[in-house]
Amino acid sequence: MSSLNTFGSILTHAIELESSLNAYYTSIDKSDRAKAADKRRKKLERVRRENVVEITLEPIEGLDEADYTLNLDDISEAGQTAIEATASQFYSDVAPKINVRQAQRALERCGQEHAEFAE
């Protein structure tokens, strides 16, 4: 059974991911990135509140949380790049699975922001 099998589980995972990135970047004094993560967290909380309707309750298949584990112990530049790449991959994988365009767009934009840091 996939662990990212509902609208809520995907959005909650995204919110937790951004919370952990906020803490990660705060701990290494990268306040701009920390703030950006916190802003995405707030946006994702709003998206979860505003877009959970009957149609989003359809089961979602093919996603597993384990594929998007972040190595938050690695604070090197390379480690940061790898974290951003994983986050970007998460968003690009989950966005197409969400059948509400507004929520999908928000996930896509989060993915784009992470992709920029992963380059």
């Binding site: 996939s2 009957e54 089961p59 298949e61």
Partner: protein, 483 residues
């Protein structure tokens, strides 16, 4: 010590005059969450007196100010969104996403009430005769009450309360004694608004308080959502007591699936319609009628996809389906499944006797699929109010419509098709108040009336939308001449 829920009367939290208590359990963990008082007729009378006393001040509060109260109310609900959703899981048993969806729908109703300055506006004509002008005024009509069910304990009260008070009325709510906790948080937020005392009142309890509401001479109108037999009693009693009433009853909702439908996409949607909230909603799909060649394909796809549904504790984000409301409900649903089998249906997936690790004593009924259900049998005609989908076969589109229209219910019906001719005919000829085309749950948004026909609705004006403005206001026609 387990808390006893209080009533909210005249701007204060007060103890009920009754010492009779109704236990409120988490249906998954079996934890005793609270005790709900079984309030008396005297409790209702105190609430109605407060509402009546507040009416004159409240109706003369500028309508823009009344709308502002609703705006602040919406902000509070947004701020408390997750807490409310979690309480809904605990007292009802539904999955967290379903709870969030319920709160979202409730907010839509507040949004609708915010627009009351536009919605209450009336019209007029100059010179209907020489020098004579005629205009219509909409005025609030007094004290309104609502008796609401366990299945959407946060959303259904908000179908009524925000619009009623935004129109200038005062209000008494009696929620289901099975799910009073989300209503308690609802009134905690209303309390924060600093409304004048008595504008909103809460009386917790069961039959005695419901009876008192139906019979109280100072209540102008009553809204009800629940089962059809009770809706009929509410309608008859309220009208006998001179009240306006809107009473939404139960349902047996049918989904016709045509051979041309996109089967995979349709089934995903049908799953949500049949098993969402464990089938405990008046828009739940009870029967899927496959037309002609669609039958085998639908049966195979349903069998495959139903098995992907995860039943689990509602606070686990990965659960698609939670419990039913109580052990009594579980036993009733399981007996109906057995009735289906005894009537000759094929039990494809049996949701009885499932176990959920860590919650062994919960009121679980898994998603159940019955095939080859016979026309006229109990499972084809009677409401289950549980996670059971019955699959029937019709030889033609016309036969599918006949099956739907012979039901004594008329809440909702849907068709899945890619053929506009069938879709149009379905909208035109099916006798149900809410019609879905490639939509399994035909749930009207807050700005549309919630339909319902036959034994699914008793009354003239429905809840929500323009009907609710009519219901909560009195029209006065002014004809004037100045010489």
């Amino acid at each position: 010590m387990t808390k006893t829920i209080k009533n909210y009367v005249n701007g204060e939290w007060v103890d009920s005059l009754s010492s009779d208590l109704i236990p409120v359990y988490d249906p998954a963990t079996c934890e005793l969450l609270a005790n709900c008082p079984d309030s008396t007729a005297q409790d209702v009378d105190l609430a109605v007196k407060a509402a009546k006393g507040a009416f004159n001040e409240w109706r003369s509060t500028p309508i823009l100010s009344r709308a502002q109260y609703m705006h602040h109310f919406k902000v509070l609900v947004e701020e408390n969104f997750e807490d409310i959703s979690k309480i809904l899981v605990q007292e009802h048993g539904k999955a967290i996403d379903e709870s969030r969806g319920e709160v979202r729908r409730a907010i839509e109703s507040i949004d609708f009430a915010i627009s009351v300055p536009v919605l209450m506006r009336s019209d007029g004509l100059e010179d209907i005769s020489s020098g004579i002008d005629e205009t219509t005024l909409r005025q609030p009509a007094g004290v309104f009450a609502a008796i609401t069910p366990f299945n959407f304990p946060f959303m259904v009260p908000l179908w009524f309360l925000p619009t009623a008070i935004a129109c200038g009325n005062t209000f008494v709510l009696k929620p289901s004694p099975q799910t009073p906790l989300s209503t308690e948080i609802l009134f905690e937020m209303l309390d924060e608004l600093d409304l004048p005392e008595g504008v909103v009142n809460l009386v917790n309890g069961g039959i005695p308080s419901a009876n008192a509401i139906m019979e109280h001479p100072d209540i102008t109108g009553v809204s009800f959502v629940g089962s059809s037999p009770v809706a009929k009693i509410i309608y008859e009693t309220c009208t006998r007591n001179g009240k306006r009433v809107q009473a939404q009853g139960g349902a047996k909702n049918y989904i016709a699936v045509m051979p041309d439908a996109n089967m995979e996409a349709s089934v995903k949607n049908i799953l949500g319609a049949a098993y969402g909230c464990a089938g405990q909603r008046c828009l739940a799909a009870g029967v899927a009628i496959a037309v002609g060649d669609a039958y085998d394909q639908l049966k195979d796809e349903l069998t495959k996809q139903v098995q992907n549904l995860k039943v689990g504790y509602g606070l686990d984000e990965t659960s698609h389906m939670g419990t039913v409301i109580s052990d009594a409900a579980k036993q009733r649903i399981e007996a109906m499944i057995q009735q289906g089998v005894d009537d000759g249906a094929e039990l494809i997936i049996d949701g009885r006797n499932i176990k959920v690790d860590g919650y062994e004593n919960g009121s679980w009924v898994g998603p159940t699929l019955l095939a080859d259900v016979k026309r006229g049998s109990t499972m084809a005609t009677e409401e289950v109010f549980g996670p059971v989908l019955s699959l029937m076969k019709a030889d033609s589109y016309e036969e599918a419509v006949e099956i739907i229209n012979e039901s004594h219910y008329g809440n909702a019906a849907s068709i899945f098709t890619n053929n506009g001719k069938y879709a149009r005919d379905f909208k035109y000829n099916v006798n149900a108040g809410n019609i879905g085309v490639n939509i399994g749950v035909a749930a009207p948004s807050a700005s549309f009336p919630f339909g319902g026909q036959k034994d699914s609705f008793f009354g003239d004006l429905h809840g929500q939308g323009s009907d609710s403005i009519e219901f909560y206001t009195e029209r006065k026609i002014i004809i004037e001449r100045w010489v």
